[in-house]
Symmetry: C2
Subunit: 229 residues, 2 copies
DNA sequence: GCAAAAGTGTTTATGTTACACCCATGT
DNA sequence: ACATGGGTGTAACATAAACACTTTTGC
């Protein structure tokens, strides 16, 4: 009935792999620079200790807000890492989450030299503290698998986006090119993208904007529909 | 540098959802009857506390051995459950695993009234302790998803099995019938089943026995092959 | 001889892939 | 005018789905 230590317990932390996409070629991950030992000065995943009166996902959201200013992001539990020697301070078990954030409303974006939080392209990551490299690898693998049968890509784009941007994102995540016509036909056939009467102006021909209709998507799922790009 | 309690920590446990298949209509799960409070006398998942010097999967294997006698089973991490009030004794976070065991070399099978460990059909489960119902649901969902794109079914069958048994297992897991000819053609086309010169005798026409060739499967995976039933 | 599971091919429908050109805009 | 991304259709191919009868054994 108590939470005192009848016998020693591992410490429990959460760590977050935060993915972002700015429309460029590569997928990005948000790292923070550690201010304290161990691994002081090294890049690491945002995260920290789980409090006694908060759920695991709550802890992940809290730490994410405290360390990066991000809130209201897509968050999903990834895996729990518990190798006995993964932390030099002693036994620390970490529940890893991965987060997807839209490029708008993103505090860290821009102050890329804040010496606090910074985005790195996934192929171009620095050495990271603890076993965070392993966690990163697992997160990337999971995202690559998930994106093909669940509509998570939309969590990485602005609310309104062109099909070109959506395709670019898929290519960035999957790491290969996809055929433009086939991609457009398929994704529109699903019928959960709503064409808007607005266009993205830019240096070239304006592209029609779409938005993801989650209600429609969930209705389709209930009818036994399967996504699958 | 120490594992003493600088501040209170959640307790950490592992729980295992053990799946089995005896060739009948339904998939089964192994539960144990709790001998101590809370939920004394109730059915629950096998599991227990993680020790300071063992990894998470090691803890799951140890508990499984201690409580059910099972060893050398397929084991995969499922999800970590950490709701603040999931255990009436206080804050307890549990890393859930799911296990797949072959019907041979299975101590619990048979002594179904041992008042210790017992198999239940998945649709016919009793009330279970803590949030173990939720864990069971997650495990079943995961198994149903996984079986379609990874060859885990073989972990639930004897080393040598007929295609009829394999098909029956898939029907039990997926909860629907599959076409015999299409199933056989597809599964044989994958080329990781080895036809043996032995047959399963029974009350009817003998069926050819096959075995799963893991080496061949892994070679295929490396060549970028995708399973998918 | 009958009940029960094993075993076997073909046709049809559906989905996937490959592929090339014109359009609208900013510079 | 040119560079850049937006936008469109069709034919070949591959995969999936539907479907019925014969075989072999134990009883």
């Amino acid at each position: 009935m108590s939470n005192t230590c009848e016998f020693p317990r591992p410490a429990l932390t959460v760590d977050c792999v935060v993915f972002g996409y700015d429309g460029g070629a590569g997928l990005q991950v948000l790292l923070i620079r550690r201010g304290i030992a161990p691994f002081k000065g090294a890049w690491a995943l945002p995260g920290g200790f789980v409090l006694m009166d908060e759920g695991l996902e709550d802890a992940a959201r809290r730490e994410l807000g405290e360390e990066t200013g991000l809130k209201d992001v897509f968050l999903e539990q990834l895996f729990t890492f518990g190798a006995v020697d993964r932390d030099p301070r002693g036994r620390v078990v970490s529940v890893a989450y991965f987060a997807l954030v839209r490029p708008d409303r993103n505090p860290a974006r821009g102050d890329t030299d804040a010496d606090e939080a910074r985005w790195f392209e996934v192929d171009g990551m620095p050495e990271v503290a603890f076993d965070h490299g392993e966690i990163l690898g697992a997160a990337l693998e999971r995202l690559r698998g998930k994106v093909r049968y669940q509509p998570v890509g939309f969590e990485l784009l602005p609310k309104r986006f062109t099909l070109g941007k959506l395709q670019g994102l898929y290519e960035a995540i999957l790491g290969r090119e996809v055929d433009k016509r086939n991609f457009r036909r398929k994704v529109l056939a699903f019928d959960f993208l709503v064409a808007l009467e607005e266009f993205e102006m830019g240096a070239h021909r304006p592209g029609r904007l779409y938005r993801f209709d989650r209600r429609r998507y969930e209705a389709l799922v209930k009818r036994g529909f399967l996504f699958e790009l």
